[in-house]
Amino acid sequence: MIRFIDFTFRYHGKNHDTLSNINFEIKKGEMIVIAGPSGCGKSTLALALAGFLFQQDFGLVMGSIEFEGKDISKIPLFEMADKVGLVQQNPENQFCTLTVIDELAFGLENRCLPISEIHQRTQWALEVVDGQNLVHREISSLSGGEKQKIAIASMLAAKPEVLILDEPTSNLDPQASQNLFVVIQNLREILELTVIIIEHKLKQLLPYNPRLIIMNHGNIAEQIPLRTYLSSKRPRQTPQTDAHEYQHESLKVIHVSDFSIAYANKEILSGIDLTIKEGEFISLMGKNGAGKSTLLLSLMGLLPLSHGSITLLGCDLKTQSVSEIAKKVSIVFQNPDHQIFTDTIWHEATFAPHNFGLLPSQYEAKTQRLLDACGLTLFKDIHPNKLSYGEKRRLNLVSILSYNPKVILLDEILIGQDEDNAYFLLNLLKEHSQCGGVVIMAHHQPDLVNAFSTRTLFLDKGRLILDCPQALTEGRLLELDQPYFLAEALSLESA
């Protein structure tokens, strides 16, 4: 159905090919998963398949992609739109309207279809993704999983033959991701749709045994069935937590007592009691909207508490200004682009210590060492925007670790990171906690983080329903009936 023939693509202004010599074939009704390190050309491949790369003069094209025997670059975009639907990474960024029904009808209205047919197709698309109950909702009121369903349904309404999903679960909790994969599988069964998924979380796709294409530096490195790939993979060397644990007499770093927070009369967190000591690596989990980000922001002193108190190293947080707190606590947010402020990598890495008025002797050597470890030293003088997504993420961490804050808060920083980079980041953080720091990481990837964390906090609807050492987490989560948050949940299911 689709055939890549020696396809090579280079963006203008780049000195290397983003895609080089791609050769492969996709059959009708197949499910394909494309994986690979960030920046390896997966998203560009998706744009090429949907025909976007050829509409404007984005770059240099060699070779071709054939769709049912026709060269895609010669097919007008509007014609391609009837054949291929592309759901981009973050559904939030691709909605063009404000209500669910307008969004579903958007593509059909543009095609000037008669009203009766638009009605019929929007209904049908909602049924296929199991979202009939969402029909009268506003987009802003939807949860992450619901948004993803609507983004998919709005593409399906045009009845494409191929559906491409670019990291569809990156913003979803494990339960919502699982639900979404079930929806996608149903699509294939009902519509015999060809589905191409770009995804890092491979374990969750195992039950559907798709064909896996691994990309690296713009090339196809490997093409095998997912099951074969996962069973041949050797388990990773994980840090031996017990041996290297922080051994000193642990000092209390954060103490939270009976703390609640409300926003616009709605309680987001309530009745939280917590004591965190030096050397802890805390894994913070919970569904989307459970209050994880709010907890992190309030530990940084960025949100006003409605009740209770937070003490940091013996001082009440309320009595300190955010800039004072920032010397001891630091936070890294999800999107690396939101936290890059200067024009060279070295300035970026030393931005915070410079702002805090530290002497160069106090931070330069350490920053240099961190940049070396992250493989960024060579790029020291270039603009951070030229880095890949994964490299930017490392730079974010370097720029925090360079001034050695006591507590590091991380809000879903593993999103969009391939496994290698994720392990790299986790190792850096583990080192910080083993030297007496505190790491609190909100995430949806227990399969990666569990090996590093010493303790798990689980939030549900604003309440802390689980707080226990890592070793006991699995059992307690089963007791609480949260099987989706187990590291092995998905591979167990398939076995």
């Binding site: 960024n93 309207t97 008669p114 800039s323 999107n335």
Partner: protein
């Protein structure tokens, strides 16, 4: 404070077609300037205040409402004191404090005129969804490319606001002193702040562009619309009422 923005509801004002309300907004603004009778002008203002009260119980908490009240009071006093034409109503034996009939009536007209225009705009904004309004405008012939400028702006504004907040938080957590007193550092602030805001906005526009073109936006000069706001008897009644009001104002 209540923001001046659409608040969903189920009143008869919400149920009117957005274009009927737009017509009222325009027609009414003309009518208010045609009225030369102080009593009529005050009656109109009182009707509007009660309508606003019907829409939003805590009228005084609507942003800007108190300011509008004070301004109209000020306008009234200005006329009352400085307009000395017509028969004298009250003479306080001070040369500049003569209150005349014309001063009083002009003051009342100008103050209530000012207040009426503010009030009718409040009513329009509070009861009309900008989304439904843009769809209605596109259906009567405004080119849809322009209509969607408004819709996508409404869509992106809260997202960009969120991003800007995150960027601000990321900055202060890395020791950027937003309230710095040092002028040599002050010029760096906007650059450090707006670069990431701009980068994230451009990425969003790119994604939106692919999403719109991927769904055939711009394929034809026209597009169809899944039915939106419906017109009904209420709308006909409202337009008749507006016509009567305009005629009445012209005659008196």
């Amino acid at each position: 404070m209540i923001k001046i923005q659409y608040s969903p509801g189920n009143t008869f004002l919400h149920k009117l077609h957005p274009l009927t309300k737009l017509l009222w907004l325009l027609g009414f603004s003309i009518a208010v300037f045609l009225v030369q009778n102080a009593w009529l002008s005050i009656t109109i203002t009182l009707v509007l205040i009660s309508l606003l009260f019907y829409l939003e119980k805590s009228v005084l908490r609507i942003r800007g409402f108190r300011l509008a009240l004070f301004t109209s009071l000020f306008l009234f006093l200005l006329q009352l004191i400085f307009n000395n034409n017509g028969p004298i109503l009250l003479n306080l034996d001070v040369q500049w404090l003569t209150i005349t009939r014309q001063g009083l009536s002009n003051g009342l007209i100008i103050a209530s005129r000012f207040l009426s225009i503010i009030l009718v705009s409040y009513l329009f904004v509070l009861s009309t969804s900008p989304n439904v309004l843009s769809y209605a405008l596109m259906r009567i012939g405004i080119p849809y490319r322009f209509g969607f400028i408004l819709i996508t702006a409404l869509r992106l504004a809260p997202i960009l606001e969120d991003d800007a907040r995150t960027i601000y938080r990321a900055q202060i957590s890395r020791g950027v002193n937003i309230d710095t007193k040092c002028i040599s550092k002050l010029w760096l602030l906007p650059r450090q702040y707006f670069t990431p805001v701009l980068v994230s906005a451009l990425a969003k526009v790119d994604a939106l562009n692919f999403s719109m073109e991927g769904r055939c936006f711009g394929k034809f000069p026209n597009r169809t619309y899944l039915n939106h706001a419906k017109t009904g008897l209420k709308d006909i009644a409202a337009i008749c009422l507006l016509t009567i009001l305009l005629v009445f104002c012209i005659l008196y």
